[in-house]
Protein backbone atom coordinates (compact mmCIF):
# COMPACT_ATOMS: atom_id res chain seq x y z
CA UNK A 1 0.00 0.00 0.00
CA UNK A 2 1.44 3.34 -1.05
CA UNK A 3 1.70 6.08 1.49
CA UNK A 4 -1.18 8.55 1.59
CA UNK A 5 -2.40 11.33 3.77
CA UNK A 6 -5.67 11.17 5.58
CA UNK A 7 -8.37 13.57 6.66
CA UNK A 8 -11.86 13.28 8.06
CA UNK A 9 -14.57 15.40 6.50
CA UNK A 10 -17.55 16.59 8.51
CA UNK A 11 -19.84 17.63 5.65
CA UNK A 12 -20.35 16.54 2.09
CA UNK A 13 -19.30 19.94 0.82
CA UNK A 14 -16.11 19.72 2.82
CA UNK A 15 -15.46 16.23 1.48
CA UNK A 16 -15.81 17.11 -2.18
CA UNK A 17 -13.71 20.22 -1.70
CA UNK A 18 -11.00 18.17 0.00
CA UNK A 19 -10.88 15.66 -2.82
CA UNK A 20 -10.88 18.41 -5.43
CA UNK A 21 -7.95 20.08 -3.67
CA UNK A 22 -5.64 17.07 -3.78
CA UNK A 23 -4.70 15.28 -6.98
CA UNK A 24 -5.08 11.53 -6.56
CA UNK A 25 -7.45 11.89 -3.61
CA UNK A 26 -10.26 9.43 -3.00
CA UNK A 27 -13.22 9.13 -0.70
CA UNK A 28 -13.22 6.25 1.74
CA UNK A 29 -16.39 4.98 3.37
CA UNK A 30 -16.64 1.36 4.54
CA UNK A 31 -13.33 0.65 2.88
CA UNK A 32 -14.17 -3.01 2.37
CA UNK A 33 -13.17 -3.01 -1.27
CA UNK A 34 -10.91 0.03 -1.57
CA UNK A 35 -8.49 -1.06 1.15
CA UNK A 36 -8.22 -4.55 -0.28
CA UNK A 37 -7.26 -3.02 -3.63
CA UNK A 38 -4.88 -0.54 -2.00
CA UNK A 39 -3.00 -3.37 -0.31
CA UNK A 40 -2.34 -4.82 -3.76
CA UNK A 41 -1.58 -1.35 -5.18
CA UNK A 42 -4.38 -1.75 -7.69
CA UNK A 43 -5.71 1.44 -6.15
CA UNK A 44 -3.08 4.00 -5.21
CA UNK A 45 -4.71 7.12 -3.78
CA UNK A 46 -2.40 9.80 -2.48
CA UNK A 47 -4.96 11.17 -0.05
CA UNK A 48 -8.01 9.64 1.60
CA UNK A 49 -10.99 11.69 2.63
CA UNK A 50 -12.98 9.80 5.23
CA UNK A 51 -16.67 10.35 4.55
CA UNK A 52 -17.97 8.16 7.36
CA UNK A 53 -19.04 11.09 9.50
CA UNK A 54 -20.96 13.16 7.01
CA UNK A 55 -24.30 12.34 8.61
CA UNK A 56 -25.53 10.68 5.42
CA UNK A 57 -26.57 7.62 7.33
CA UNK A 58 -30.34 7.87 7.44
CA UNK A 59 -33.16 6.36 5.44
CA UNK A 60 -35.97 8.86 5.08
CA UNK A 61 -39.24 9.01 3.21
CA UNK A 62 -39.48 11.25 0.15
CA UNK A 63 -42.38 13.49 -0.66
CA UNK A 64 -43.65 11.18 -3.39
CA UNK A 65 -43.81 8.15 -1.13
CA UNK A 66 -40.40 6.71 -1.97
CA UNK A 67 -37.29 6.43 0.13
CA UNK A 68 -34.09 8.39 0.23
CA UNK A 69 -31.17 6.27 1.43
CA UNK A 70 -28.15 8.16 2.65
CA UNK A 71 -24.95 7.07 0.91
CA UNK A 72 -23.41 6.09 4.24
CA UNK A 73 -26.25 3.84 5.34
CA UNK A 74 -24.61 0.51 6.09
CA UNK A 75 -25.80 -2.51 4.13
CA UNK A 76 -27.00 -4.19 7.32
CA UNK A 77 -29.11 -1.20 8.30
CA UNK A 78 -30.59 -0.81 4.86
CA UNK A 79 -31.56 -4.49 4.66
CA UNK A 80 -33.07 -4.30 8.15
CA UNK A 81 -35.01 -1.08 7.63
CA UNK A 82 -38.70 -1.92 8.21
CA UNK A 83 -39.80 0.17 5.22
CA UNK A 84 -37.35 -1.54 2.92
CA UNK A 85 -38.39 -4.95 4.21
CA UNK A 86 -42.05 -4.15 3.72
CA UNK A 87 -41.99 -2.30 0.40
CA UNK A 88 -38.71 -3.12 -1.31
CA UNK A 89 -38.13 -6.74 -0.28
CA UNK A 90 -35.99 -7.44 -3.31
CA UNK A 91 -33.48 -4.91 -2.00
CA UNK A 92 -33.29 -6.46 1.47
CA UNK A 93 -33.00 -9.89 -0.07
CA UNK A 94 -30.24 -8.86 -2.46
CA UNK A 95 -28.21 -7.21 0.28
CA UNK A 96 -28.32 -10.14 2.67
CA UNK A 97 -27.41 -12.48 -0.18
CA UNK A 98 -24.08 -10.71 -0.47
CA UNK A 99 -20.82 -10.83 1.49
CA UNK A 100 -20.95 -11.64 5.21
CA UNK A 101 -22.57 -10.16 8.29
CA UNK A 102 -19.43 -8.35 9.34
CA UNK A 103 -18.78 -6.95 5.87
CA UNK A 104 -22.36 -5.73 5.57
CA UNK A 105 -21.93 -3.92 8.87
CA UNK A 106 -19.19 -1.80 7.33
CA UNK A 107 -20.09 -1.63 3.65
CA UNK A 108 -22.15 1.40 2.66
CA UNK A 109 -24.84 2.07 0.09
CA UNK A 110 -22.62 4.34 -1.96
CA UNK A 111 -19.59 2.13 -1.62
CA UNK A 112 -21.48 -0.94 -2.71
CA UNK A 113 -22.23 0.78 -6.03
CA UNK A 114 -18.55 1.69 -6.39
CA UNK A 115 -17.32 -1.89 -5.91
CA UNK A 116 -14.90 -3.03 -8.51
CA UNK A 117 -14.93 -6.36 -10.30
CA UNK A 118 -13.73 -9.60 -8.73
CA UNK A 119 -12.13 -10.78 -11.96
CA UNK A 120 -9.08 -12.71 -10.73
CA UNK A 121 -6.91 -11.25 -13.49
CA UNK A 122 -7.80 -7.76 -12.30
CA UNK A 123 -6.60 -8.79 -8.86
CA UNK A 124 -3.33 -10.36 -10.06
CA UNK A 125 -1.03 -7.45 -10.79
CA UNK A 126 1.31 -9.68 -12.80
CA UNK A 127 -1.39 -10.23 -15.41
CA UNK A 128 -2.46 -8.00 -18.26
CA UNK A 129 -5.70 -6.18 -17.52
CA UNK A 130 -7.23 -3.27 -19.38
CA UNK A 131 -9.24 -2.30 -16.37
CA UNK A 132 -6.23 -2.10 -14.09
CA UNK A 133 -3.71 -0.91 -16.67
CA UNK A 134 -5.40 0.35 -19.79
CA UNK A 135 -3.86 -0.97 -22.97
CA UNK A 136 -2.24 -4.07 -21.52
CA UNK A 137 -4.90 -6.46 -22.77
CA UNK A 138 -7.43 -8.74 -21.17
CA UNK A 139 -6.04 -11.91 -19.62
CA UNK A 140 -9.50 -13.24 -18.90
CA UNK A 141 -10.24 -13.46 -22.62
CA UNK A 142 -8.66 -16.76 -23.50
CA UNK A 143 -8.00 -17.41 -19.84
CA UNK A 144 -10.12 -18.92 -17.12
CA UNK A 145 -13.44 -17.17 -17.35
CA UNK A 146 -15.83 -19.35 -15.38
CA UNK A 147 -17.54 -16.43 -13.73
CA UNK A 148 -17.13 -13.72 -16.31
CA UNK A 149 -19.62 -11.72 -18.33
CA UNK A 150 -21.72 -13.16 -21.12
CA UNK A 151 -23.53 -9.93 -21.96
CA UNK A 152 -22.35 -6.45 -22.80
CA UNK A 153 -18.71 -7.44 -22.73
CA UNK A 154 -16.09 -6.22 -25.14
CA UNK A 155 -12.78 -7.28 -26.61
CA UNK A 156 -11.18 -5.19 -23.91
CA UNK A 157 -12.93 -6.64 -20.87
CA UNK A 158 -15.25 -9.45 -19.85
CA UNK A 159 -15.44 -8.63 -16.14
CA UNK A 160 -18.70 -8.63 -14.20
CA UNK A 161 -19.97 -6.23 -11.58
CA UNK A 162 -20.06 -8.11 -8.27
CA UNK A 163 -22.82 -6.27 -6.43
CA UNK A 164 -26.10 -7.91 -5.47
CA UNK A 165 -27.54 -4.70 -4.07
CA UNK A 166 -27.08 -2.91 -7.39
CA UNK A 167 -29.12 -5.55 -9.20
CA UNK A 168 -32.06 -4.91 -6.89
CA UNK A 169 -31.64 -1.15 -7.27
CA UNK A 170 -31.69 -1.57 -11.03
CA UNK A 171 -34.93 -3.54 -10.77
CA UNK A 172 -36.38 -0.84 -8.55
CA UNK A 173 -35.43 2.06 -10.85
CA UNK A 174 -33.37 3.75 -8.17
CA UNK A 175 -31.70 7.11 -8.67
CA UNK A 176 -28.19 7.95 -7.52
CA UNK A 177 -27.76 11.43 -6.09
CA UNK A 178 -24.35 13.01 -6.15
CA UNK A 179 -22.47 16.14 -5.26
CA UNK A 180 -19.85 17.54 -7.63
CA UNK A 181 -16.66 19.27 -6.41
CA UNK A 182 -18.36 22.65 -6.88
CA UNK A 183 -21.10 21.57 -4.49
CA UNK A 184 -23.73 21.17 -7.18
CA UNK A 185 -25.91 18.11 -7.13
CA UNK A 186 -27.30 15.85 -9.82
CA UNK A 187 -29.42 12.76 -10.10
CA UNK A 188 -28.36 9.76 -12.17
CA UNK A 189 -30.71 6.96 -13.08
CA UNK A 190 -29.25 3.67 -11.89
CA UNK A 191 -29.55 2.39 -15.45
CA UNK A 192 -27.03 5.01 -16.52
CA UNK A 193 -24.79 4.88 -13.48
CA UNK A 194 -22.62 1.88 -14.39
CA UNK A 195 -21.00 1.70 -17.79
CA UNK A 196 -20.34 -1.16 -20.13
CA UNK A 197 -16.64 -1.79 -20.63
CA UNK A 198 -16.34 -0.86 -24.30
CA UNK A 199 -12.74 0.09 -24.91
CA UNK A 200 -12.47 1.96 -21.61
CA UNK A 201 -13.15 -0.72 -18.99
CA UNK A 202 -11.22 1.27 -16.40
CA UNK A 203 -14.05 3.82 -16.38
CA UNK A 204 -16.80 2.00 -14.57
CA UNK A 205 -19.35 4.67 -13.70
CA UNK A 206 -20.47 8.01 -15.07
CA UNK A 207 -19.25 9.86 -11.98
CA UNK A 208 -16.99 12.77 -12.72
CA UNK A 209 -13.70 13.36 -10.92
CA UNK A 210 -14.29 14.05 -7.25
CA UNK A 211 -18.04 13.51 -7.49
CA UNK A 212 -19.50 12.03 -4.30
CA UNK A 213 -22.55 9.81 -4.00
CA UNK A 214 -24.74 11.37 -1.33
CA UNK A 215 -27.87 9.25 -1.55
CA UNK A 216 -29.83 6.67 -3.45
CA UNK A 217 -33.55 7.29 -3.88
CA UNK A 218 -36.24 4.75 -4.52
CA UNK A 219 -39.50 5.59 -6.29
CA UNK A 220 -42.77 4.78 -4.52
CA UNK A 221 -43.32 1.09 -3.79
CA UNK A 222 -44.82 -1.04 -6.58
CA UNK A 223 -46.13 -3.81 -4.36
CA UNK A 224 -46.07 -7.38 -5.55
CA UNK A 225 -43.88 -10.29 -4.69
CA UNK A 226 -40.19 -9.49 -4.31
CA UNK A 227 -37.66 -12.25 -4.95
CA UNK A 228 -33.90 -12.38 -5.27
CA UNK A 229 -32.51 -15.72 -6.34
CA UNK A 230 -28.75 -15.98 -6.17
CA UNK A 231 -27.01 -19.04 -7.57
CA UNK A 232 -23.57 -19.82 -6.23
CA UNK A 233 -21.28 -22.77 -5.66
CA UNK A 234 -21.32 -22.52 -1.91
CA UNK A 235 -24.33 -21.72 0.19
CA UNK A 236 -23.12 -18.36 1.49
CA UNK A 237 -20.29 -15.82 1.31
CA UNK A 238 -19.74 -16.20 -2.41
CA UNK A 239 -20.23 -14.09 -5.49
CA UNK A 240 -23.10 -14.96 -7.79
CA UNK A 241 -22.79 -17.19 -10.81
CA UNK A 242 -26.19 -15.83 -11.77
CA UNK A 243 -28.69 -13.79 -9.78
CA UNK A 244 -32.29 -12.91 -10.62
CA UNK A 245 -34.15 -9.99 -9.06
CA UNK A 246 -37.88 -10.24 -9.66
CA UNK A 247 -40.80 -8.06 -8.70
CA UNK A 248 -44.03 -9.66 -9.86
CA UNK A 249 -47.74 -9.75 -9.31
CA UNK A 250 -49.47 -13.08 -9.05
CA UNK A 251 -53.10 -13.31 -9.99
CA UNK A 252 -54.90 -16.65 -9.98
CA UNK A 253 -51.66 -18.53 -10.24
CA UNK A 254 -50.41 -16.44 -13.13
CA UNK A 255 -47.23 -14.46 -12.83
CA UNK A 256 -47.10 -10.97 -14.22
CA UNK A 257 -43.55 -9.71 -14.33
CA UNK A 258 -43.22 -6.16 -13.15
CA UNK A 259 -39.48 -5.77 -12.81
CA UNK A 260 -36.69 -8.16 -13.72
CA UNK A 261 -32.92 -7.69 -13.46
CA UNK A 262 -29.94 -9.99 -13.47
CA UNK A 263 -26.60 -10.15 -11.73
CA UNK A 264 -23.44 -12.06 -12.56
CA UNK A 265 -23.89 -11.59 -16.28
CA UNK A 266 -22.35 -8.29 -17.20
CA UNK A 267 -20.24 -5.29 -16.29
CA UNK A 268 -23.37 -3.80 -14.76
CA UNK A 269 -26.70 -5.05 -13.48
CA UNK A 270 -28.54 -6.38 -16.51
CA UNK A 271 -32.11 -5.46 -17.26
CA UNK A 272 -34.00 -5.68 -20.53
CA UNK A 273 -37.20 -3.69 -20.06
CA UNK A 274 -38.85 -5.21 -23.13
CA UNK A 275 -38.57 -8.64 -21.53
CA UNK A 276 -40.73 -7.44 -18.65
CA UNK A 277 -43.52 -6.58 -21.08
CA UNK A 278 -43.32 -9.73 -23.17
CA UNK A 279 -46.43 -11.18 -21.63
CA UNK A 280 -49.63 -9.23 -21.41
CA UNK A 281 -51.57 -8.79 -18.20
CA UNK A 282 -53.47 -11.97 -17.54
CA UNK A 283 -50.94 -14.18 -19.29
CA UNK A 284 -48.66 -16.39 -17.22
CA UNK A 285 -45.05 -15.41 -17.78
CA UNK A 286 -42.88 -18.21 -19.17
CA UNK A 287 -39.13 -18.27 -18.66
CA UNK A 288 -37.88 -19.28 -22.08
CA UNK A 289 -39.19 -16.41 -24.22
CA UNK A 290 -38.09 -13.93 -21.58
CA UNK A 291 -34.65 -15.54 -21.35
CA UNK A 292 -34.36 -15.52 -25.16
CA UNK A 293 -34.82 -11.79 -25.15
CA UNK A 294 -32.55 -11.16 -22.17
CA UNK A 295 -29.79 -13.32 -23.57
CA UNK A 296 -29.97 -11.90 -27.08
CA UNK A 297 -26.48 -11.02 -28.19
CA UNK A 298 -24.82 -13.06 -25.44
CA UNK A 299 -21.18 -13.80 -26.08
CA UNK A 300 -20.10 -16.52 -23.68
CA UNK A 301 -16.63 -18.02 -23.47
CA UNK A 302 -16.06 -21.77 -23.39
CA UNK A 303 -15.89 -21.57 -19.59
CA UNK A 304 -19.02 -19.57 -18.90
CA UNK A 305 -21.40 -20.83 -21.56
CA UNK A 306 -23.11 -22.70 -18.73
CA UNK A 307 -24.60 -19.37 -17.72
CA UNK A 308 -26.92 -19.45 -20.72
CA UNK A 309 -28.94 -22.45 -19.50
CA UNK A 310 -28.43 -21.31 -15.93
CA UNK A 311 -30.12 -17.96 -16.58
CA UNK A 312 -33.03 -19.76 -18.22
CA UNK A 313 -33.39 -22.27 -15.41
CA UNK A 314 -32.93 -19.79 -12.60
CA UNK A 315 -35.53 -17.53 -14.12
CA UNK A 316 -37.91 -20.47 -14.41
CA UNK A 317 -37.25 -21.34 -10.76
CA UNK A 318 -37.86 -17.77 -9.66
CA UNK A 319 -41.11 -17.52 -11.64
CA UNK A 320 -42.17 -20.83 -10.06
CA UNK A 321 -41.49 -19.49 -6.61
CA UNK A 322 -43.54 -16.41 -7.42
CA UNK A 323 -46.31 -18.57 -8.83
CA UNK A 324 -46.47 -20.47 -5.57
CA UNK A 325 -47.13 -17.11 -4.01
CA UNK A 326 -44.18 -17.37 -1.72
CA UNK A 327 -43.41 -13.95 -0.44
CA UNK A 328 -39.83 -14.85 0.41
Amino acid sequence: MRAFTYERAETAAEAVAAVARTPGARFIAGGTNLLDLMKLEIETPTHLVDVNRLGLDHVEETGDGGLRIGALVRNTDLAADPRVRRDYGVLSRAIVAGASGQLRNRATTGGNLMQRTRCPYFYDTAMPCNKREPGTGCAALGGLSHNHAILGSSEACIATHPSDMAVALRALDATVETMAPDGSGRSIAIADFHRLPGDTPHIETVLGPGELITAVTLPPPRGGIHLYRKVRERASYAFANVAVALVAKVRSGRVVVDRLAFGGLAHKPWRVEAAERLFAEGEDAAADPIADLVLAGARPTEHNAYKLPLVRRTLAATLDTARQGETS
Binding site: M1, A80, Q102, R106
Partner: protein, 186 residues
Amino acid sequence: MSSIATHPGRQPGRQPGGVPTRLRVNNRDHVLELDPRTTLLDALREHLHLTGTKKGCDQGQCGACTVIVNGRRANSCLTLAVMHDGDDITTVEGLGTPEALHPMQKAFVEHDGFQCGYCTPGQILSAVCVLGEIEAGIPSHVTGALTAAPTCSDAEIRERMSGNICRCAAYPNIIAAIREVAGGRS
Protein backbone atom coordinates in the same frame (compact mmCIF):
# COMPACT_ATOMS: atom_id res chain seq x y z
CA MET B 1 14.78 -15.76 27.30
CA SER B 2 16.96 -12.66 27.46
CA SER B 3 15.32 -9.33 26.89
CA ILE B 4 16.49 -6.69 24.50
CA ALA B 5 16.00 -2.99 24.65
CA THR B 6 13.32 -1.48 22.48
CA HIS B 7 14.94 -0.11 19.38
CA PRO B 8 15.10 3.68 19.53
CA GLY B 9 12.31 5.39 17.66
CA ARG B 10 10.20 2.27 17.63
CA GLN B 11 7.83 2.93 20.43
CA PRO B 12 4.79 0.89 19.54
CA GLY B 13 1.84 2.99 18.55
CA ARG B 14 3.90 6.19 18.28
CA GLN B 15 5.11 6.70 14.76
CA PRO B 16 6.79 9.89 13.67
CA GLY B 17 4.32 11.91 11.63
CA GLY B 18 1.51 9.56 12.55
CA VAL B 19 -2.13 10.55 12.72
CA PRO B 20 -3.30 10.88 16.32
CA THR B 21 -6.06 8.39 16.97
CA ARG B 22 -7.92 7.61 20.17
CA LEU B 23 -9.10 4.04 20.43
CA ARG B 24 -11.02 2.64 23.34
CA VAL B 25 -10.13 -1.03 23.33
CA ASN B 26 -11.62 -3.42 25.86
CA ASN B 27 -12.55 -0.48 28.07
CA ARG B 28 -9.06 1.00 28.04
CA ASP B 29 -8.21 4.22 26.25
CA HIS B 30 -5.22 4.33 23.95
CA VAL B 31 -3.85 7.31 22.12
CA LEU B 32 -1.88 6.19 19.09
CA GLU B 33 -0.03 8.06 16.42
CA LEU B 34 -0.24 5.81 13.45
CA ASP B 35 0.89 5.59 9.89
CA PRO B 36 -2.52 6.04 8.22
CA ARG B 37 -1.93 2.82 6.31
CA THR B 38 -2.21 0.83 9.52
CA THR B 39 -5.32 -1.32 9.54
CA LEU B 40 -7.31 -1.63 12.73
CA LEU B 41 -6.13 -5.24 12.75
CA ASP B 42 -2.45 -4.34 12.66
CA ALA B 43 -2.94 -1.56 15.19
CA LEU B 44 -4.36 -4.11 17.60
CA ARG B 45 -1.82 -6.82 16.88
CA GLU B 46 1.39 -4.95 16.24
CA HIS B 47 0.96 -1.80 18.29
CA LEU B 48 -1.25 -2.82 21.20
CA HIS B 49 0.01 -6.42 21.20
CA LEU B 50 -3.52 -7.70 21.35
CA THR B 51 -2.75 -10.69 19.20
CA GLY B 52 -5.96 -12.54 19.95
CA THR B 53 -7.35 -10.87 16.83
CA LYS B 54 -5.98 -12.93 13.97
CA LYS B 55 -4.80 -12.15 10.48
CA GLY B 56 -6.01 -14.98 8.28
CA CYS B 57 -6.28 -13.39 4.85
CA ASP B 58 -5.99 -9.62 5.32
CA GLN B 59 -8.63 -9.14 2.63
CA GLY B 60 -12.02 -9.74 4.21
CA GLN B 61 -12.39 -13.29 3.02
CA CYS B 62 -12.02 -15.34 6.19
CA GLY B 63 -13.32 -13.47 9.25
CA ALA B 64 -10.41 -14.36 11.57
CA CYS B 65 -9.91 -10.64 12.25
CA THR B 66 -13.47 -10.02 13.43
CA VAL B 67 -13.76 -7.50 16.26
CA ILE B 68 -16.68 -5.58 17.69
CA VAL B 69 -16.70 -1.89 16.81
CA ASN B 70 -19.26 0.23 18.66
CA GLY B 71 -21.30 -2.89 19.30
CA ARG B 72 -21.18 -4.31 15.78
CA ARG B 73 -18.88 -6.94 14.35
CA ALA B 74 -16.48 -5.92 11.61
CA ASN B 75 -13.47 -7.25 9.73
CA SER B 76 -10.62 -5.32 11.30
CA CYS B 77 -8.39 -6.03 8.29
CA LEU B 78 -10.52 -3.93 5.94
CA THR B 79 -10.67 -0.77 7.93
CA LEU B 80 -7.99 1.73 8.85
CA ALA B 81 -7.25 2.40 12.49
CA VAL B 82 -7.40 6.15 11.87
CA MET B 83 -11.02 5.77 10.78
CA HIS B 84 -11.89 4.67 14.32
CA ASP B 85 -10.98 7.74 16.31
CA GLY B 86 -13.10 7.64 19.44
CA ASP B 87 -14.57 4.23 18.64
CA ASP B 88 -15.19 1.56 21.22
CA ILE B 89 -13.58 -1.72 20.24
CA THR B 90 -13.90 -5.13 21.82
CA THR B 91 -11.45 -7.88 21.00
CA VAL B 92 -11.46 -11.44 22.22
CA GLU B 93 -9.19 -10.41 25.09
CA GLY B 94 -11.92 -8.07 26.27
CA LEU B 95 -14.57 -10.75 26.27
CA GLY B 96 -13.04 -12.92 28.95
CA THR B 97 -9.78 -14.26 30.32
CA PRO B 98 -8.64 -17.88 30.52
CA GLU B 99 -9.52 -17.76 34.19
CA ALA B 100 -12.88 -16.04 33.70
CA LEU B 101 -14.23 -17.01 30.32
CA HIS B 102 -17.25 -15.42 28.68
CA PRO B 103 -20.12 -17.93 28.32
CA MET B 104 -19.48 -18.15 24.58
CA GLN B 105 -15.78 -18.85 25.13
CA LYS B 106 -16.69 -21.49 27.70
CA ALA B 107 -19.16 -23.10 25.31
CA PHE B 108 -16.52 -23.25 22.57
CA VAL B 109 -14.20 -25.14 24.93
CA GLU B 110 -16.96 -27.45 26.13
CA HIS B 111 -18.18 -28.29 22.60
CA ASP B 112 -14.70 -28.43 21.08
CA GLY B 113 -15.65 -25.62 18.72
CA PHE B 114 -12.10 -25.32 17.40
CA GLN B 115 -8.98 -27.32 16.72
CA CYS B 116 -6.01 -25.18 15.76
CA GLY B 117 -7.62 -22.17 17.44
CA TYR B 118 -6.61 -19.59 14.86
CA CYS B 119 -10.05 -18.65 13.54
CA THR B 120 -11.52 -19.05 17.01
CA PRO B 121 -11.44 -15.50 18.38
CA GLY B 122 -13.19 -14.30 15.24
CA GLN B 123 -15.75 -17.08 15.45
CA ILE B 124 -16.46 -16.27 19.08
CA LEU B 125 -16.88 -12.53 18.56
CA SER B 126 -19.06 -13.20 15.54
CA ALA B 127 -21.13 -15.69 17.52
CA VAL B 128 -21.77 -13.19 20.29
CA CYS B 129 -22.89 -10.60 17.73
CA VAL B 130 -24.97 -13.08 15.71
CA LEU B 131 -27.19 -13.75 18.71
CA GLY B 132 -27.58 -10.01 19.17
CA GLU B 133 -28.41 -9.52 15.50
CA ILE B 134 -31.11 -12.17 15.63
CA GLU B 135 -32.53 -10.59 18.76
CA ALA B 136 -32.49 -7.21 17.08
CA GLY B 137 -34.50 -8.66 14.20
CA ILE B 138 -31.92 -8.09 11.48
CA PRO B 139 -32.84 -10.33 8.54
CA SER B 140 -30.51 -12.79 6.87
CA HIS B 141 -30.42 -14.69 3.60
CA VAL B 142 -32.37 -17.58 5.14
CA THR B 143 -34.96 -15.54 7.01
CA GLY B 144 -38.49 -16.54 6.00
CA ALA B 145 -40.89 -13.64 5.84
CA LEU B 146 -38.99 -10.36 5.76
CA THR B 147 -41.66 -8.62 7.77
CA ALA B 148 -41.43 -11.14 10.63
CA ALA B 149 -38.66 -11.41 13.20
CA PRO B 150 -36.00 -14.00 12.42
CA THR B 151 -35.84 -17.03 14.68
CA CYS B 152 -32.76 -18.41 16.35
CA SER B 153 -32.67 -21.57 14.23
CA ASP B 154 -29.59 -23.55 13.26
CA ALA B 155 -30.07 -22.39 9.68
CA GLU B 156 -30.07 -18.74 10.78
CA ILE B 157 -26.96 -19.24 12.90
CA ARG B 158 -25.11 -21.08 10.12
CA GLU B 159 -25.92 -18.43 7.53
CA ARG B 160 -24.91 -15.58 9.81
CA MET B 161 -21.69 -17.31 10.85
CA SER B 162 -20.67 -17.91 7.24
CA GLY B 163 -18.27 -14.99 7.20
CA ASN B 164 -15.99 -16.92 9.55
CA ILE B 165 -14.11 -19.70 7.82
CA CYS B 166 -12.75 -22.58 9.89
CA ARG B 167 -10.34 -24.70 7.92
CA CYS B 168 -10.25 -27.35 10.64
CA ALA B 169 -13.98 -27.43 9.85
CA ALA B 170 -15.19 -27.41 13.43
CA TYR B 171 -18.47 -26.02 12.11
CA PRO B 172 -20.93 -28.48 13.69
CA ASN B 173 -19.28 -28.03 17.09
CA ILE B 174 -19.31 -24.26 16.75
CA ILE B 175 -23.04 -24.36 16.04
CA ALA B 176 -23.52 -26.59 19.08
CA ALA B 177 -21.66 -24.08 21.24
CA ILE B 178 -23.70 -21.14 19.95
CA ARG B 179 -26.92 -23.10 20.35
CA GLU B 180 -26.08 -23.75 23.97
CA VAL B 181 -25.45 -20.09 24.69
CA ALA B 182 -28.59 -19.08 22.77
CA GLY B 183 -30.62 -21.60 24.74
CA GLY B 184 -29.31 -20.23 27.99
CA ARG B 185 -30.44 -16.78 26.99
CA SER B 186 -34.00 -17.43 25.96
